[in-house]
Amino acid sequence: MNRILRKLFSNATSLIGIILLIIFVTIAIFAPVIAPPLSEDYYQIPRMSWDINPQPPGSPMSGDIRDIYDYMGTEIKYDRAICGTAEGGYDIFYGLIWGTRTAFKIGIITVTVSMLIGIVIGSISAYFGKWVDEILMRITDIFLSFPFLVAAMVLTTVLGRGLDKVMIALIVFGWMGYARLIRGSILSTKEETYIMAAKALGVNDGKIILKHLLPNTIFLVMVQGSMNIGSMVITAAALSFLGVGAPVGYADWGQMVSFARNWIIGSPGHAGQYWYTVLYPGIFIVLFVLAWNLIGDTLRDILDPRLRGEL
């Protein structure tokens, strides 16, 4: 464990990843300070105008919206769209900052829950073997028969819009890799003498799995999980992009890119006039995913015994 941490911090690529991640954690924690919310629902992006056209960075809040806040007695803590507004006057800056929380929420919750499901199914399958293994692994195969994005999209469409629905869909079709991984590594440790000894001593099955098998195999799965956080966030963003993800106006990077879709070309004679609608959310998504991938890539090399000592 110490060896891995030391390598992570001494390797240039993973160090960049760690620094990026620290920045994102800071943004997520201090979101209420960086972009003070204007309504009760923190994740609802405030609108700076009713204008359908995106407004360039630095545009002030329109007069009639200011009137509404004044009327409601809300204190307007900032009144300029620093990064411009997306289609429909949604403030890009606010969406970016609060979208960081959304991204962490999606990544961590979906990966943790699907990892738990995978661990339960994988360890039962490997430990009991025979027909239990056969049935569970065929079920795993069936879930793997769907392209991930297609499966997640179908389930979200049926369940309805909302971030929770997106996460359910990602979990339902996201546990199989962990199940296979943990099954494989338990199969290889199952025959070790200390497990035999435990069995001979009459330790019950549940305890053998929990106390003796899992601690030796779980680390691998956790590494795999950390590498999957990026792709979970990308898939959730892709669902929002396709219009079946988070509800309209929710602070979510994928949706902000989808807002940009109609404006990316610009108007005749002004190609790229609305660059800010795609650039800022794009940068946030790429850097967030990149951070996890950089760390994951180094972890993979560290853990690959064939490459050990060559880094």
């Binding site: 690529t13 065929r138 079920i139 195969d141 069936i142 879930f143 028969s145 769907f146 392209p147 991930f148 994005l149 297609v150 499966a151 999209m153 179908v154 389930l155 469409t157 049926v158 369940l159 990026g230 990308i234 963003a237 892709a238 992009f241 396709l242 219009g243 079946v244 994928g254 890119v257 989808s258 940009a260 879709r261 990316i264 070309i265 610009g266 190609a271 790229g272 795609v278 794009g282 998504i285 790429v286 850097l287 995913v289 990149l290 991938n293 950089l294 890539d297 690959d304 064939r306 490459l307 060559e310």
Partner: protein
């Protein structure tokens, strides 16, 4: 090996039943009236009192789960997939009409995936830990972190917005007139590039190709970044084998060692992954087609999902899952055929 192939074939119906069962589970999360909507052509038929109840009974939509599943399977076996509100035609026709466009896109996308992915992977492994290797690796990681929908928008912005070279859609309007209305143009395969060549119509071929390039780049790029990584690690592994050392010590030149001795063996695992990956690429067609207004299956499904046209979305999932199951079968069997060492239990 034969027993493996037989076992694999026997498993096929089990998996297919499982896949349909899973899709039906998702489908049955909808209320009977929502499911009824997937069979109705004209909403006015529901205005008549009791019409909805009668139709729900007719289509067995409120039956208990097992009965409902069997009835649903029966309809699918007769290719009765319901009515697509989005396409305003039966789902069956909507699929068969749009399938060639998507097939054309996917077929062409395989070329850059394999060529670029494998080529860069080999270079990266040969120059292990060099500047070149690091550059290729970092580019691949960044490529893997750039979601296809952002990449696609950038391609659209640069090659259409700024340069005006690669327009969205499948054909320019002048070409559409010829392909879809002219009696001189025969559609043999419905793959426009191929049909154009068969008709000897070069301008149409070039126009179709011009519309295909940007979607191809977008659809393929994630896969080649991934394939690059696999090729690299497989090649690194092979280059350390004894027979490579033997070849080198015999004085065989470096080119022969790398391209004839090592590369061939290193590519066996890569080819199987490539097969699986091409199948997975199917998932990306929705995003690619939506960005470039490319009138294929993906565009239709994504639109259907936004309009809650459940029948279309469910049928699309059914089609793609079946294609994937069959694709995986082919990949597994060919793996067993290519590599004699594979005696998968």
């Amino acid at each position: 090996m034969l027993s493996y192939i037989i076992r694999r074939l026997l498993l096929l119906p089990v998996i297919l039943i499982g896949v349909t069962l899973l899709i039906y589970c998702v489908f049955s999360l909808l209320s009977p009236i929502e499911r009824l909507a997937t069979y109705i052509h004209d909403p006015n038929t529901l205005i008549i009192p009791k019409a909805a109840e009668r139709l729900i009974a007719k289509y067995h939509l409120s039956d208990p789960f097992p009965l409902g599943y069997i009835n649903w399977l029966k309809r699918i076996a007769h290719f009765d997939l319901g009515w697509s509100r989005t396409a305003n035609q039966p789902v069956k026709d909507a699929i068969s009409q749009r399938f060639p466009a998507t097939l054309e896109l996917v077929l062409y996308s395989i070329i850059p995936v394999i060529l670029v992915g494998i080529w860069l992977g080999v270079i990266s492994a040969v120059h292990h830990n060099d500047m070149l290797d690091q550059t290729i690796r970092v580019t691949a990681i960044i490529g893997g972190s750039l979601p296809s929908f952002i990449f696609g928008l950038l391609v659209l912005f640069i090659f259409y917005g700024i340069l005006g070279w690669l327009p969205p859609g499948r054909l320019s309007s002048w070409a559409q007139d010829i392909v879809y209305t002219s009696s001189n143009f025969h559609s043999y395969t419905h793959l426009i590039t191929i049909d154009a060549l068969l008709n000897g119509n070069l301008p149409i071929f070039l126009d179709a190709l011009r519309h295909l390039i940007a979607p191809i780049i977008t659809l393929s790029y994630i896969s080649w970044a991934f394939l690059l990584r696999i090729t690299r690690s497989s090649m690194l592994d092979t280059l350390r084998k004894d027979y490579v050392k033997t070849a080198r010590s015999k004085g065989v030149d470096e080119y022969t060692v790398i391209h004839l001795h090592a590369q061939r063996n290193a590519l066996i695992p890569v080819m199987t992954v490539a097969g699986t990956m091409i199948i997975h690429m199917l998932g990306g067609v929705m995003i690619t087609e939506i960005i470039f207004d490319y009138p294929g299956l993906g565009f239709w499904t994504a639109t259907a999902a936004q309009q809650l046209d459940y029948g279309s979305v469910i049928s699309f999932a059914l089609l793609f899952a079946t294609l994937m199951v069959l694709g995986n079968l082919i990949v597994d069997v060919s793996y067993a055929l290519i590599d004699p060492r594979v005696r998968l239990e």
